[in-house]
């Protein structure tokens, strides 16, 4: 095994363990922390792929900003340990089992397909690592993917304005 494979297995294992921990912990804060661990392991996987920018963005956006807000909300609401009980819980359990089976089937389908795919099976691992620089990403975003990029920014802008309008109205009623 070369170092990259070892690192891949390591990051993959950590991200899997983290993901399982997210749903196993009873306390929301511990779940949130496990999710951060998963994000980190995924950032590691991105680095192995040579996508340094995506790795950094993953840590900045998800681990650094969104999860802090998660923790913030959990702490503000002072949520205790969660339990799935009662009629609502039973309904959720049924839904979870159905979705879980669907998801597992999808995963197995993809895995079987990939194993049968001769192109993937016979592909040699890349001999030299290709690193995508931020410069290349920027160039692509502003030329080839200009339209999707602008559309995304418009959606974000709309969301931003929507949030401000919603918050603003509440504030004015209070005063």
């Amino acid at each position: 095994m070369n170092p990259e494979q070892i690192l891949f297995i390591l990051f993959g294992a950590v991200s899997l363990i983290g993901a399982i921990a997210v749903i196993s912990f009873r306390h929301p804060i511990y779940s949130a922390l496990s999710l951060i661990v998963t994000f980190f392991a995924q950032a590691g996987l991105f680095v192995l792929l040579g996508a340094h920018f995506v790795a950094a963005a993953q840590v900045i956006v998800y681990a650094g900003a969104i999860m802090v807000l998660f923790l913030f909300v959990i702490m503000l609401l002072n949520l205790g340990t969660l339990s799935v009980k009662g009629a609502m819980g039973r309904k959720l359990k049924g839904l979870a089992i159905i979705l879980g089976i669907l998801f597992a089937a999808e995963g197995i389908y993809i895995a079987v397909n990939a194993l049968n795919d001769t192109a993937v099976a016979s592909a040699e691992p890349a001999t030299e690592s290709v690193t995508t620089t931020t410069y290349q990403i920027g160039e692509l975003l502003f030329s080839k993917y200009l339209l999707p990029f602008e559309v995304t920014s418009l959606i974000l802008l709309a969301a931003l304005i929507g949030v401000i309008v919603l918050v603003k109205r509440e504030g004015q009623e209070e005063s």
Binding site: H52, A57, G64, V68, T134
Partner: protein, 397 residues
């Protein structure tokens, strides 16, 4: 670096890591001493001067005291997170320094050894990513303490860090636009010349101010130390901590200051460049001199940290948020637009520099004008007597 044998690469990296990490740790000790001595000087008193020459060994004595104190874990805390939190604050503070170039290069035994631990293509993003993780230590420590003062401190700190992180990131973009096509800190430092007017802080002066202010906020230093405001929150997020765990919080704050200063020096103050001292001496000496210059610049900036602490009073919480969102953020955003536009139009750093200052001035004036115009009438302060005494309003009604 490519033609270096693996063994030399590993050996030189290990030596560099050891030197830098120890410099950071010793730097923390010196900063604690300096802070107390400088604040003493500023307040016209002596400060610690008994232990060792000029009191220099005071931090050693303090450290020993911390180690021999009882490591108390209160019963009401969430133990795993309570123990983890100080480390979660200290580790990001330590690893940020990995991408900061602290000198040009030293040629030893025929190998050119660049003076940085790792020069990665996304250097700045790495720093932003790691510093954004520091907040977890504060927030989790606060929550795990299970103490209302701690929790309030942690909430304040997280809201503050999220608000000011934006300015921190946006303040850098102006520099990136004028610097090559990479985010590597070494390239940014190399592209700034030897003379002060070639350094980025003059070209991006408003962004420099915004970035520095945001950095003060990120390090939780006065005037932004609302997370540990003594008069309101006992000691804020580390109220329940004692012994070495408290010391770790303490060290992390100073380490963040040192790393922050080093990053600012690299980004805005020309890194290890200084006119007249380029290529002095042999291949070894020029590297060491460049390291010395970087060290001195960082030290001067650290002095500014202490200076500001004893000059400015603490913000009120609404002032903090207003300042961050209504002044710093617009200034940082304007700097991006103006830098980009003027650079494309004229391609002159002088024009960009002047345009940045003018635009920032206009934006700040507009914001200030809007704030004054839209200011809600101050709610009359009701003291206890006014509820009972008849007022002028009652008479009108």
């Amino acid at each position: 670096m490519e033609n270096m044998p693996l063994l030399v690469l590993i050996l030189s990296s290990v030596v560099k890591i050891l030197i830098i990490v120890h410099m950071l740790l010793i730097g923390v000790m010196i900063m604690i001493w300096a802070e107390r001595r400088v604040s003493g000087w500023m307040q016209d008193r002596l400060g610690p001067n008994r232990v060792g020459p000029q009191g220099l060994l005071q931090p050693v004595a303090d450290g020993l005291k911390f180690m021999f104190k009882e490591d108390l874990i209160p019963n009401h805390v969430d133990k795993p997170l309570y123990v983890l939190a100080p480390a979660m604050l200290l580790v990001p503070a330590l690893v940020t320094v990995a991408v900061v170039p602290f000198g040009s290069s030293i040629t030893l035994f025929g190998y050119e050894i660049p003076l940085h631990i790792a020069d990665i293509n996304i250097g700045i993003l790495y720093i932003l990513a790691i510093t954004s993780l520091g907040v977890y230590g504060v927030v989790l420590g606060a929550w795990a303490s299970n103490n209302k003062y701690s929790l309030l401190g942690g909430l304040r700190s997280s809201a503050q860090m999220i608000s000011y992180e934006l300015t921190l990131g946006l303040g850098i973009i102006g520099i990136l636009m004028l610097t090559g096509n990479t985010l590597s800190l070494r390239t940014i430092a190399v592209e700034q010349g030897a003379y002060p007017w070639q350094w980025n802080f003059l070209i991006h002066f408003p962004a420099f101010l915004a970035f520095t202010t945001a950095m003060f906020a990120e390090t939780n230093r006065l005037p932004f130390d609302l997370a540990e405001a003594e008069q309101e929150l006992v000691a804020g997020y580390h109220t329940e901590y004692s012994s070495m765990k408290f010391a770790m919080f303490f060290m992390a704050e100073y380490m963040n200051m040192i790393v922050g200063s080093a990053v600012t020096v690299t980004l805005f103050l020309g890194g290890w460049h200084f006119f007249g001292l380029e290529n002095v001496g042999g291949p070894v000496w020029s590297g060491l001199i460049s390291f010395g210059i970087f060290f001195l610049k960082t030290a001067i900036f650290l002095f500014v940290f202490i200076w500001v602490r004893w000059t400015l009073p603490r913000f009120r919480y609404d002032q903090l948020m207003n300042f961050g969102w209504k002044f710093l953020l617009p200034v940082a955003l304007t700097s991006i637009v103006v830098t980009g536009t003027l650079w494309i139009m004229t391609g002159s750093r002088l024009v960009v520099g002047i345009g940045n200052v003018v635009a920032a001035f206009i934006v700040v004036s507009i914001v200030a004008g809007l704030l004054v115009m839209n200011k809600a009438p101050e709610p009359a302060i009701q003291d206890d007597d006014s509820r009972f005494a008849p007022t002028a309003l009652d008479a009108v009604e």
